[in-house]
Each structure stands twice: as C-alpha cells, then as structure tokens.
C-alpha cells in the first residue's frame, strides 16, 4: 500500500463509489468469513498498488522463473509486482480454509494423478460455486450450468459436447492463467531393457501406471528391474495412506475394477464389462478365475466389502471411488450392482478406474484399518509383495498368472508400444535421496531407470553415459496461475485478457524448460492428451502492445513513469460497471461501453 507514482485526483460519476474494496461478490455457502484475506482495492485514477503474486519455489525448481515471467508480463503493463515465495505447505494451507487466496495471482502445479487425465471433472468442477477447491471465488453462470449438467450426463457424446463448451467459455473468459503443461522428463537405461511405455503424466518410469513394468523385456540375462526413486513409501496401507508414494507404488500389488491405457482409454481389469443400467445404477461383471496372492479366489463379496470398509473408515485415498456409491449389492459370485446417490457421469470414466479392491478375508477382522500396516499386503495385481524396508527399498515380484502378462492382451491395450517376451521377474524400488546420486547410480548401472522427474539439464547429464537415454512424456496436469476473483482488478475482463496477452509462456518454455512443456492454446486446463480436449478455444495471442491498447481502451492510463492507473471519470464508471457480478464475464463492447483511449 502507500502511494506509488502519480495518481490522478479521483473524479467519479454520480452514484459511483470512489473506491471498490476487495470483497466476496456472492453468497458463498462454503465460505465462512466476512471478508477475503486479500486486500487489493481499486480507486478511481489511482496508480495500482504493488500486485501481490505468490508461488512456492519448492513446488518445482523452475517455479520462481515462472513467477518472474508473470512478473515481467505485469511489468510490461505498467504494474509493479510483489513476488511472494512461500513455503509449499503454507501455500496449500490457504486451501484448508476456503476463504480464498491471499494474493491476486497464486500459482501452483497440479499433480499428475491419472484421474485428472481420464475425466475432465477434477480440473473443471473446481470452477463451480460450491466446490471446496474453488478458492479463487470464480463464478460464471453459464459455465456453472454447463458443468453441473455434464457431471450428471452419463451419455458420452452428449457429455463431450458439454465439456467442450465449458472449455470454450472458460478460456474465453480467462478464468485463470493456464500457462503450460510441463513434460515429465527422466532417464532410463535402454541397453538393459526394451519396452518402456510412455504414459501421459507418468512418463515411462513413474508409479501411476504399471504398463512399463509389465511390458519391459530384458536385453540381458537379468530379469530384475531396478528403479531409483527419491521419495519413499511410508507404509503398506494403501487405502489409508495420505496420498504419498505408497498410494501409487502399492497399486502394483492391487487391481482396480478398470484400468486406463497410455492413450487414456478405459480397459477392463477386475471388472470385464458393464455400465449404467439406470440413472443411478451401475452393474458390473467381474473377471472370473482371479486369485488373491495368497490363493483365495476373488469374488463379488470382496468388492462389496471393499466399498463398505472404505466408507466406514473413510479411506482418504479412495474417496473418488466410493464417494457417489450409496450401496453395493452382490448379484452373483462375479456380478455386482452399485447404487449411486446421484447420477454421476464420471463414475465409469474415472471413479472405477484404478480403484483398489481389497481381499475381504484379510481385512474383515482388522479393528482399525486406518492404523493397520499389513505385514504383507495381498492383492490380485500383476506384482506380489516381496519386501519393504522403509526409506530404503521396496521389492515386488511377478504374479505370473496376471492377465497383463499375457502378450496378446497387452498388444491390444498398448498397441505399438507392446513388446513380447519373457518379461521381468522382479521390480525393486530403491531410494536414493538425492538427484545427483540418482544420476550417478543410473550411469554406474546400479539402477536401470530413474523414477522421478528430472530437469532437462539433469536428464542431459545422465544421458551422457552409454545406453542411458533421456525420455520425456507430456502431462495433462497444468500449471494453474489462479486469479483471485474477489479483487476488483481481476474482475475486469479487459484486464484479464490484457494479462493473458502479456504473459509469454512460450518464451519461458524455450528459455528455461528447453521446450519440455506444452503451452495450451488459450486458458484451457484440459490438455490435448486427454480425450476431452477441445482444440477450438479462444487463444489471446501474446502481444504486449495489443494488451496495452486493450487497457487503454478500457480507460486505464499511465503516469509519467509508466505506472498503470485505474480508469478515472467516465471510464471509472464503466470499470465499476464491468466488475459487477452479472458483468464480470462480459467485455466492454458487450456492455456497450465506449473506447476510452
């Protein structure tokens, strides 16, 4: 705060306030507070205060560079920026309470959960009123309507249409800055193994999918595949894990009802078919002849038991799966029915995929499953648990009878990427705490692949050795620079568009990521990698001059030092009009406001 630059004397039309405060513009049911934690008010003719922009450099090593890029864009518009590099946990802590963000712009990455690639809901539904994750207080009546509708539309084609429209609206409205989808970069040893499967958001080596591990074929006698990782599993209790490495790594032991291919197609797993039979009823056929690793047979009872125990003890990592389920009925040994609480479009595309089914005979006598750490987790998955030593290593060995090891089945699911052969015997995850050491181990042959994200420089360095190659895969998890919509400035669509045109993501990707990222056309959070992507969204091309013209036309001015000022006089009246709740998604001409330049 305090005055910067030369403000004009406020000159306001009748009935228009001189200053507009930061405030909640709607009655948010989910918000329990009088005023937003951010205070960035607008005053007629005043030079803009330093604009708070927050990020966490712990988020991604290049995050600060990204923030600097945004800062440069704002600088070009004449807006001074206050960069706030916050500890990651504090950045996230804001979302614990839904009061809203503490900065005008707040950037963070989304994790590449497979769920996010399979269904548009995780990334889109947070833009609706009522979502706990809507901490930027964004609201667009049309979008609200579309999204609510698509969430209940179980017809695929119809839903795709709705989702496409939603993307258009969001991009056109500049609901956030969707700057880029960073690639997953890593390095692997190709002399020893063939058949790495590139899965979006996961690359060939991370743990969200098992494709690489079931598809790999040895080029030497050694059939043990060693993956170096930098985060360790914390427990052997998958369903009640807090979402760390164990939630992913342990899925190697278990199967879901369905699975997703590298093209993000849904394929059968423990369920072989089925689907909606009514608005809120889903019936599934289960795979026959499947055995738990301890030899017991898998039946529909296990599925029913799993859902019920999850519900009773609130399994945190399986919430997306069981959340809409009201009850489960066993229709036969290998047939179940789910009764849902509401119609849920994503049930078959997202929720049942990679859901973890537990063996009833193992878990039914456990007192408190959330505090249970099985000695030896038993699942039906492609790998059987071997050993685990916390912080050091985790080993699992091939479950030979598993369908994924069937070369033909894999050929169907993986297409070109499928390899035939004896496959691997064991997977071992080894914890190497430091990237330097990871690279060293890969080069020395102590490990076969690196299971974490590398920077391009690091990957290049690793690839210096024989047989080591840098690999990268695209991701569907965007970097989301959220705009706080309680702030008057952000509510001005003219400003948002100018901002979108001032931020040069592509330049950033070239300079600092060496091209290892995808820059979306416009502010569309749904990546081209997914099946829900709409390529025809509005793209406000980068052009600083034009951005400044837009601002000028909207009535903004600059002082002698080039500092941006809020509109004054008539233009101020127009500004105040634009930021009213019913107008925030409308441009100047839609409101029939003149050109103030």
């Amino acid at each position: 705060t305090g005055s910067r630059g030369q403000s004009l004397d406020p000159d306001v039309p009748d009935g228009v306030p001189e200053t507009v405060e930061t405030q909640y513009w709607r009655e948010w049911e989910t918000i329990d507070a009088d005023s937003p934690p951010l205070d960035y008010s607008a005053t007629a003719g005043a030079v803009l205060d330093r604009l708070p922009v927050e990020f966490s450099s712990e988020d991604d090593p290049w995050m600060r560079e990204h923030a600097l890029m945004v800062k440069r864009g704002l600088d070009d518009l004449g807006i001074a920026v206050e960069l706030n590099d916050r500890p990651l946990n504090q950045l996230y802590a804001q979302s614990w309470a839904t009061k809203g963000l503490e900065a005008v712009i707040s950037m963070s990455t989304h994790g590449p959960d497979p769920q996010r690639g399979l269904d548009p809901n995780p990334l889109l539904m947070r833009r609706t009123e009522g979502s706990l994750s809507n901490y930027d207080n964004y609201y667009h009546p049309k979008l609200q309507e579309l999204l609510t509708e698509q969430a209940q539309t179980t017809d695929r084609a119809e839903r795709e249409e709705l989702v496409a429209r939603a993307q258009e609206i969001f991009a056109e409205d500049v609901g956030a800055l969707i700057t880029l989808f960073p690639n997953i970069v890593t390095a692997v040893n190709r002399d020893r193994w063939a058949g790495y499967v590139e899965t979006p958001g996961n690359g060939p080596t991370m743990d969200s999918f098992v494709w690489t591990e079931v598809n790999l074929q040895p080029e030497t006698d050694n059939r043990t595949y060693v993956k170096g990782v930098s985060t360790s599993m914390n427990s052997l209790n998958l369903p009640w894990a807090a979402g760390g490495a164990e939630a992913k790594r342990l899925t190697f032991i278990y199967d879901g009802l369905f699975d997703a291919t590298p093209d993000l197609d849904v394929v059968p797993a423990l369920a072989t078919g089925g689907g909606f039979v009514g608005e809120t009823t889903v019936e599934l056929e289960l795979r026959e002849g499947v055995e738990w690793h301890d030899g017991e047979a898998f039946t529909a009872e296990d599925v029913k038991f799993t859902v019920e125990i999850y519900q009773e003890y609130t399994s945190s990592s399986q919430v997306p799966f069981y959340e809409p389920i009201d009850s489960v009925e066993v229709l036969g040994d290998h047939e179940v029915r789910f009764n849902l609480t509401n119609p849920d479009a994503s049930f078959m595309t997202q929720r049942v995929v990679r859901s973890v089914i537990l063996p009833k005979h193992r878990w039914e006598d456990i007192d408190n499953p959330s505090q249970h750490n099985p000695d030896k987790p038993v699942g039906t998955g492609p790998f059987e648990f071997d050993t685990w030593e916390q912080g050091t290593r985790f080993a699992a060995s091939r479950n030979d009878g598993h369908w994924m090891f069937d070369d033909d089945w894999r050929a169907d699911a993986l297409g070109d990427q499928a390899e035939r052969g004896p496959g691997i015997e064991r997977v071992i995850w080894i914890n190497v705490s430091n990237v330097d050491a990871l690279i060293g181990s890969l080069q020395s042959g102590a490990i076969d692949a690196i299971g974490t994200n590398l920077s391009t420089l690091q990957a290049e360095r690793a690839a210096n050795a024989d047989g080591i190659e840098q690999v990268s895969a695209g991701s569907y998890a965007p970097l989301d620079a959220k705009l706080m919509f309680s702030c008057p400035l952000v509510r001005d669509k003219e400003f948002r568009i100018a901002l979108s045109k001032a931020v040069d993501s592509q330049g950033f990707v070239e300079d600092f990521l060496q091209g290892e990222a995808t820059v979306p056309a416009g502010e569309n959070p749904i990546s081209p990698l997914t099946q829900w992507h709409n390529p025809d969204t509005t793209d406000y091309e980068v052009d600083v001059e034009e951005a400044r013209t837009i601002l000028e036309q909207a009535g903004y001015t600059w002082d002698g030092d080039g500092n941006l000022r809020y509109p004054n006089g008539e233009a101020w009246g127009a500004f105040v009009e634009r930021i009213q709740p019913e107008n925030t998604y409308k441009r100047r001409d839609e409101l029939e406001q003149p050109d103030f330049s």
Binding site: S95, W96, W240, V432, S433, A437, A446
Partner: protein, 331 residues
Amino acid sequence: MTKFQRFLLKRLAISVLLTLIAVSVIFVVLRLLPGSPFEALVTSGNLNQEQIAEIRAMYGLDEPIWKQYVNYLTSLLTFQFGYSILRSQPVWAVLEPRLINSLILLVPALVTTAILSSLVGMYAGWNRGSRLEKFSIVSTTLLRSTPVFITAIFFIIVFAYNLEIVPALGMRSIRATPEGYLDTFVSLDFLHHYLLPFTVAVLYYSGDFLLLARNGVVEKRGSEFLKLHRAKGLTEMQQLARAGRNSMLPILTYFTLRLGMIFQGLILLEVVFSWPGIGRELVLAIQQQDYPLVQAAVFIMALAVILANLLADVLYAYFDPTVSTGGGGSA
C-alpha cells in the same frame, strides 16, 4: 539418606519437571501449526468437508484441546508415541531403526573425538605457543565454527566427487540388502559409507574438546600443585598427565552434554549425507506434517538433553572430590 542421594533426588525432580514443561511446549507449538497432513488430499479436491471432519476425528483432532493434551501427555510419558499419520505404523517402529542409525554414526564419532582431541588438546596446551598448538587451534576453530554441512559439502566434493575414494551418500550401497543389524553394520560396504560422515562428525566436534582440554591444561600449567609435582621430580609427561587428569572433569561433563545434544546437533549432517537417521527423519516428518512422528522425535531429542544434563551433573558431583553435593550444583 546421604547428601549425594539427596542431591540426586533434587536433580531428578528438576529433570522430571523440565521434561513435563518441554513436552508441553512441544504440544503447544504443534497445535499452532496450521493445516495437517491431509491438506494435499483436500487440495486435490477429493475430500468434502464431512470426510475431512471424519479423518480429524479418527486422529483425535476434534477433541477439546485439553483432552488432546492429556492424551498426549499420558501417551508420551508412557513411551507410547502413537501412530504415525502418514505411515500407518506405530511411531516407535518408524523411529527405532532411525535412532539406531543415528547412534551408530554419532556415538563412536563422539567418543573418538573426545578421546583424540582431548589428548591432542592437552598436549597442545602443555606446549603452549608451539606450532602444534597454533595449528591445532586454527584448524579446530575452523572446523568447529564452520557449520557442519559446509564442512561436509567440502569433504564430499573432495573425497567423493573428485578423488572418488568413498561414496557421497547413504548408509550402504543402494543394492545391498543386509538382514538385521549385525549384517547391516558389520560389513565393508557399510564401513565404506561410514567413513566420510564419521570423519566429518569427528572433526566437527574435535574443536570443543580440543580447546577445552587445552584451556584446562594451560590453566593448570601455572598452578601451584603442578609446581609441587615438578619439584617432586616428575617427568614432563607425568606432569602433563596430572594436569590432564585435573582438567578431565569439564571434558567429561561436556562429553555428556554433547551426547545429549547428539541427535539435534547433526540433523544437518544426516541431511547432507542422506544418512537415514532420526534427524533426517524429523526434517521429513516436519515437511510432511506428520504430527505424531514430529512429536516423538522432538520428545526423544529433548529427553536426551535432559537426561544428559542430569547425568552430567551427577557425574560431576560424583567424580569431583571437591564439589559440594549439598546445593544445586546444577548451574
């Protein structure tokens, strides 16, 4: 009841009180922390309000604060550290191996350095003004005042990266799969990994012991009783031994105190060397906001200090023939 016993009782009471207060402070600080380990889940949009509340209830976070406090106290003081939120395991099961890894690194290092540096320090103090003295003072001042992680980084760069004599990180080579403690710690591989952090720890601590021993001997060197020893015809070495024996007590006390601070002192060392010890685990747990684990780790560290303080006082009172055990010889 002898005087000594009475003194012991008093010190014990103080220690218990201190433990209680320290533990309470830890509790307060932890409760002040915003957020929780479930944040990541919430941010991902997977949980609704109700489910969050259920999870909180599961870990007792919904109870009134005083009740949480009472539960916390009773469990800590009975060494039931509870369940790690992230690890779904008893905290002790997580910490025990870490604790052992830390001890295996630090105790031998401390003992070695205490013996070696004290001897060198005594010798240096005896030969005051000699080159050896000057050199040992400069080098140990350097080693003890430089933050340990910097020394460690230098050593890693020189010995691991450039000379490639020893590995830079970890406790054993990454593909090793030892069974049980004996197998883990009694192997060439372990020794190989042990060398660098051990050396750095030894060097880091050497300064205090060396200076303490040196100052002690310098102080004693001009003393009357040594003059009498000299007059009796004792050789230089015998005199040095007497001077050394007379400066033992502060060294012993300091050793005990250091022993108590051992875990906290070398958090940085463990982080730099990726040594899977309790210090590194604590840093991780703090980052992951795993309350029960943090609580237990900090508690163990505090307890170690308190016990070491107690031990130091008792040893002091026990070994110093001149100390009066009547009063609070603590400060």
